[in-house]
Each structure stands twice: as structure tokens, then as C-alpha cells.
């Protein structure tokens, strides 16, 4: 009898191995999901978006007209911050860069490999909300730069299966709106999912 038990271990082990494979295969486990990098300046999105009510395009001005979303120039920062919170430690850093006429060397968080062509504007113009890919970015740093500060984090795996899934199943406007914290109107709910091309040469060339 004990012998029998011994042998039942084998199929059990196999099943376990299979499960592990599938898990690593389909979860973002193998991607840089959750990547979080310390930044030269403890930038906080929340106040800008929520308090100041700035639009994403104010800083990422090219997001709707270029493959490259662009990033605020130091001058743009100083545009407000010469007055606003000018005394805060972090702003002082920014001011220092402006002084030296140097760009801020931000560390890249969301990154697709170089052999992937990702045109931001096609997605933005199709109505895909920023949050659909970047998560609750508008709340980042709500705690402020000082106490338990959380830098920008990659919430989605951004791996190929993740992209393809949306391209094939289609982007659901209602879902996107919900993520963006906008109110979900019945029209949105009614909208059919926006499907996209999934030919390799759409992203890889």
C-alpha cells in the first residue's frame, strides 16, 4: 500500500510542473511588471492632476501627435515652480537643473524593447485612456514626496501577450473610462470594443 502511495507522487509532481509553466507563461511573472525606479526628483503626479487639474498633455505634449509622448522640459516645470512651492526641497533640485541649463535625467520606467514600434498617438487618438496602460498614474505620489513616497511604477506587464490581447479582443471604452475614473455613460457601455491590427509588421520592423 505504501508503495502505491509513493507512485501517486509522480503524476502529482507532473501536474505541479505543468501548472507552474502555465503560470509563468500567462502571468506577467516573466516581465518587468511592477518595476519601480527611484527618480532624481521625487515627482508626484497626484497634485498636478488632482489639485492643479492639469491635463496629461500639458507635460506629455506629444502623446497625441507623435509616437513619442514627450516629457516636460525643465523650463516647463519652472514655468510654474518659480512661484509655486519654490521652497520645497524637490523643487529646489529642479531649479538647480534649470540653473545649470541641464535636463533632468529621469529614469525610464515604462519601456518596450527597441524592436517594438509603439506609436502613442495612435492609441491616444483612438481614445485609449492613459490609465489603461499606465494604471492609476493620476494618484501616484498622493502621499507627497516626503512620507512613504511611491515613485511611478509599471503596473501592467507590457509583454506581447498583454498587447495582443487588447488588439484582438478589442479595447472597451467603458472599461477604459472606469480605469480613468471618468463617469461611465450608457453610450460608452453601448460602444463595441475597438479592435486593432495584430499583424506582426504593425509593431515589429
Amino acid at each position: 500500500m505504501t508503495v502505491k502511495k509513493k507512485w501517486t507522487v509522480i503524476p502529482g509532481f507532473l501536474a505541479l510542473a505543468a501548472a507552474a509553466t502555465l503560470l509563468s507563461a500567462y502571468s506577467g511573472a516573466s516581465s518587468s511588471q511592477g518595476l519601480r525606479v527611484e527618480q532624481p526628483v521625487k515627482f508626484v503626479h497626484a497634485p498636478h492632476v488632482q489639485k492643479a487639474g492639469m491635463n496629461c498633455l500639458y507635460c506629455h505634449s506629444a502623446a497625441n501627435k507623435s509616437p513619442d509622448p514627450g516629457n516636460a522640459s525643465v523650463a516647463t516645470c519652472m514655468g510654474c515652480h518659480t512661484l509655486v512651492k519654490a521652497q520645497s526641497a524637490e523643487i529646489k533640485k529642479v531649479a538647480a537643473y534649470a540653473q545649470k541649463n541641464q535636463p533632468i535625467p529621469w529614469n525610464r520606467v515604462h519601456k518596450v524593447p527597441d524592436y517594438v514600434q509603439f506609436p502613442h498617438f495612435r492609441h491616444v487618438n483612438a481614445g485609449v485612456t492613459c490609465q489603461s496602460c499606465h494604471g492609476q498614474i493620476q494618484n501616484q505620489g498622493a502621499q507627497g514626496p516626503d512620507t512613504n513616497y511611491v515613485p511611478v511604477q509599471q503596473v501592467n506587464s507590457l509583454n506581447m501577450g498583454w498587447c495582443i490581447n487588447c488588439h484582438v479582443q478589442g479595447y472597451k471604452p467603458a472599461e477604459g473610462a472606469r480605469l480613468a475614473g471618468e463617469k461611465v455613460t450608457p453610450e460608452l457601455e453601448a460602444m463595441p470594443p475597438k479592435k486593432a491590427r495584430y499583424d506582426c509588421a504593425v509593431c515589429h520592423y
Binding site: A25, Y26, S30, N159, M160, W162
Partner: protein, 475 residues
């Protein structure tokens, strides 16, 4: 009967015994079998020397692989349009060698060929190691070896699967299946023999290991009954497998439209060539082994004679395939084909083509003479030439075809580099390393099966009555 106590001296002009009927007159009883075979396992200085040479060669190959991965394939001799070279040639070469083993153990088993009994274990081991060697080369050959696993179908987050229409994916399936099956076949055959070693072993540590390896084999009638059936079905599966594997390898070429590749004769032609080269390698291994391990009265001249007949036959098959290729090229009236084949024998590659014709077509004709068939020295020399010839056969298939394709502007040449060569050396090192390790750990002959054709003790009735209809049979 006493005359057979010591090895028999068989005359050069021995009786022409039918291959099915080859027997072991010089082997008296079961105990002798155990004694003689187990005697081969003792370590010797010569063996250590041979092993260290093999390991050294293997290391040369390994280090050049690291070097090549760092720099890129440019360090090999590739010269576009010759995009395949030494690695694919050597791959096909080793796969070919890997065919004799399973052929002997499976096909000849079904055909009840008596002479297989004493050579099949060595041949099977050779097969496994040859395929292990061959299997490395596709990986060595590709540009990004670290991505090789993309050829294997497994669920992945890219949601991508391999292209099952590609002959290379067929290869992956064929080669891995073949490796698995021939390894299994080898091991199953080994189980009773390991049991023998186990029961003779005195060293408790080794005894423990051996009893694990023997899976607790007890030689009970039930075990034998299922064993026999399983062995039969394995043989039945392996038989078409052997034929399929090299056919699939030949598809790598036949499925392409390259002149000199795009030929429907390739599968049978490759299989025959594989068996041909396989048997040659069996000689290369068995003849010295027979001498050093004093197994002359297990691998008798009759055995060699029988194998020589197989080699002669396959040589004729391969030879006619060569000639048919030329005929078809002429008959097709496709100019590209015709020009290519002309170029193959009279153009820039004449030396390679003639080497292969000499080694594979001309020299084996010597085996029409029984005198030479029963001359181990000659067979050994011949085997080396056949191995060379078969390497060049693959060279002639791969390189000249690619260098002389449809587009004249892109006609080119090919020369191997030192990196290519070190891989070739390395592959032999790798192969012999495994084989040498094998011969000193496990019996190079199937003890249990030898006992089948050795007469059992009888109280009354005929002494050494061999029941021929059952020779080698398990039922």
C-alpha cells in the same frame, strides 16, 4: 566439446553461413557468458588514456562554442549564399551514424537475424551517443542559440507557436522522439543485464546503485513475459521510426527548391546512406572492441561477414541513388539543375564529389570477396573510408547546391574556418567520451540475450541442441 573451451580459430575461408544462422559455437554455458562479459568492465590504463583524449577534444569544441556565441557565426566559414555549412553537414553525418543501432536492434530483431545478438548492445549505445552529438549541431548552427527553445511548442505569453509546416520543426520532433525511444530501448534491454551485474556485485555501494538501476528486476516469469511483449512492440515502433527520422532529415533538403536538393529520391537515399554509415561506424567501434575485450568468440568472423553483406547492399543502394540524381537532372531539362550537377562533378567541387564516389561506391565493392569480408583489418580500414565518404556525401549535398543556385550573380564558394574544424573535433570527442564511459560501466553485450542462443544445461537429451527456429526470439 572440449575443443570449444578456448576461442576457435576459424579459417579465413570459413563456411558461408546464412546471416540468420550465425551462432556462438565457442560459448559453452551461461556462467561463461557472465564471466567473459563482466571481464570487459575492469578499468585499464589504455582506457583512461583514450578517455582523456576524448575529453580534451570535447573541451576544444566546447570552448570554441563559447567563442562563437560571443562573436557571432561570422567566425565560422559561412560564405553566402552558402548559408549552411559544416554544422549541418556534421549534424546529418551523426544522425546517419545514429541509425545502425536501432536498425540492428529493432529491424533485425523483427527479421530474426541471428547475428544481431552480440553486436546490438554496442550499436544501440553508439546510436544514443551519436544522436546526442547530432542533436547539438542544429543549436550550434543557429544564429541565436539562446532562442532555440522557440522551436519547441509550449504555451507562452507571446501567444506564438512554432510553424509546423517547417521541416526544421519536423526535425525537432523526429530527432527528440528518436533520441527518447532509442534511449528507452537501450535501457529496457539493459535491465536484466544490470540485474546480473547487481547479483555479481560485492561492493555494497555499487550494488545499491545497480539495484536501483535494475529497477529490482527479478527474472521472474511474469517480468519476462511482459518484457518480451514490450520489447516486441518497441521494436515494432522503432522500425518505422528509424526509417522516418532520416527521411525527415532529408526533407530539410528535399522540401527546398534549391537545385540539387529538390529531389523526391532523397528519403530512401538518405535512409540507405544512414544505414551504410551506421554499419561502418559499428565496425569502427566493434572491431577494436572485439580485439581489446577478447570477444572474438562472441563477435565471430561470421558476424562480420553478415554485417559486410549489409554494407555491400546499402552501398549499392546509395550508389544507384547518386546515378539516378544525375539522370533526373539531365532528364528534367531544367537548365539550373543540369548546370548544377555538371558543376558538382566537373566544376569547382569535383574533388569532394569524387572523394565520395570513391569511398562510398568504389571501395565497398571489395566486399564481393568473402576473403575480405572475413578480414577484420580490411573492414576496419574500409569503415574509416566509408565514414569519410559519408561526411563528404553530406558536404556535396549541402555546399555545392547552395553555392550554385538559380541566381548567377550570387554564385559563390565556401571554405571552412578553424572554428568549424574545432567543432568537428569536439563532436568526435563528445561522442567517444560517452561511449568510453559506457563500455566500462555497463555490459557491451546483451548477457540475457546471449544466453538465449547459448545451449542451456540439460540432464537428459541433446547436449548443445540449438533450436534454430527460435534463435534470438523471445517467444
Amino acid at each position: 566439446m572440449a575443443s570449444v573451451a578456448h576461442p576457435v580459430r576459424e579459417g579465413i575461408r570459413g563456411p558461408n553461413i546464412a546471416s540468420a544462422d550465425v551462432q556462438l559455437p565457442a560459448v559453452r554455458d551461461y556462467e561463461q557468458v557472465d564471466r567473459d562479459i563482466i571481464a570487459t568492465l575492469g578499468f585499464t590504463k589504455k582506457w583512461f588514456l583514450g578517455l582523456s583524449v576524448a575529453v580534451l577534444a570535447m573541451l576544444i569544441g566546447a570552448s570554441s562554442w563559447i567563442y562563437q556565441i560571443y562573436w557571432g557565426l561570422g567566425q565560422a566559414g559561412y560564405e553566402p549564399p552558402v548559408m549552411w555549412g559544416n554544422y549541418i553537414i556534421t549534424f546529418v553525418f551523426w544522425v546517419g551514424i545514429g541509425h545502425a543501432g536501432t536498425l540492428i536492434s529493432a529491424i533485425l530483431y523483427l527479421f530474426r537475424a541471428g547475428f544481431r545478438t552480440s553486436i546490438y548492445r554496442a550499436a544501440e549505445a553508439m546510436t544514443v551517443f551519436a544522436v546526442m552529438t547530432a542533436g547539438l549541431f542544429p543549436i550550434i548552427h543557429i544564429g541565436r542559440p539562446w532562442k532555440f527553445f522557440w522551436l519547441i511548442p509550449y504555451p507562452n505569453w507571446r501567444l506564438l507557436w512554432p510553424n509546423f509546416k517547417s521541416p526544421l520543426v519536423w526535425d525537432v520532433f523526429a530527432i527528440s522522439t528518436y533520441l527518447t525511444i532509442s534511449t528507452t530501448f537501450l535501457f529496457i534491454g539493459l535491465i536484466p543485464d544490470i540485474a546480473v551485474l547487481r547479483d555479481k556485485e560485492t561492493n555494497p555501494m555499487r550494488k545499491r546503485i545497480l539495484s536501483i538501476l535494475s529497477l529490482g528486476w527479478r527474472n521472474s516469469d511474469r517480468e519476462w513475459r511482459h518484457f518480451a511483449k514490450a520489447y516486441l512492440f518497441l521494436a515494432a515502433f522503432s522500425t518505422p521510426l528509424v526509417l522516418s527520422v532520416h527521411s525527415v532529415v532529408s526533407f530539410d533538403f528535399a522540401m527546398a527548391l534549391t537545385p540539387g536538393w529538390h529531389a523526391s529520391i532523397f528519403p530512401p537515399y538518405f535512409v540507405a546512406g544512414a544505414i551504410f554509415s551506421g554499419f561502418a561506424m559499428v565496425w569502427t567501434i566493434a572491431i577494436p572492441m572485439r580485439k581489446w575485450f577478447k570477444l572474438e568468440h562472441y563477435i565471430t568472423l561470421n558476424h562480420l561477414d553478415a554485417t559486410a553483406k549489409v554494407v555491400l547492399f546499402t552501398s549499392l543502394v546509395v550508389g544507384s541513388a547518386y546515378l539516378i540524381e544525375f539522370f533526373i537532372a539531365w532528364y528534367s531539362s531544367v537548365r539550373a539543375e543540369q548546370e548544377f550537377f555538371w558543376n558538382r562533378v566537373f566544376g569547382q567541387w569535383w574533388w569532394a564529389a569524387w572523394t565520395l564516389l570513391l569511398c562510398n561506391m568504389a571501395m565497398p565493392m571489395s566486399l564481393w570477396s568473402q576473403k575480405l569480408r572475413r578480414n577484420p583489418t580490411w573492414l576496419f580500414i574500409l569503415s574509416l573510408f566509408i565514414n569519410l565518404g559519408m561526411w563528404f556525401e553530406r558536404f556535396v549535398i549541402v555546399v555545392p547546391s547552395l553555392s550554385h543556385e538559380f541566381e548567377p550573380w550570387q554564385w559563390g564558394h565556401y571554405t571552412v574556418s578553424w572554428v568549424d574544424m574545432s567543432f568537428l573535433v569536439g563532436s568526435f570527442g563528445w561522442f567517444f567520451m560517452w561511449f568510453l564511459l559506457f563500455v566500462k560501466q555497463l555490459p557491451v553485450m546483451a548477457i540475457a540475450e546471449l544466453k538465449e542462443i547459448v545451449a542451456p544445461r540439460m540432464k537428459h537429451g541433446h547436449g548443445h541442441g540449438h533450436d534454430h527456429h527460435h534463435a534470438g526470439g523471445h517467444e
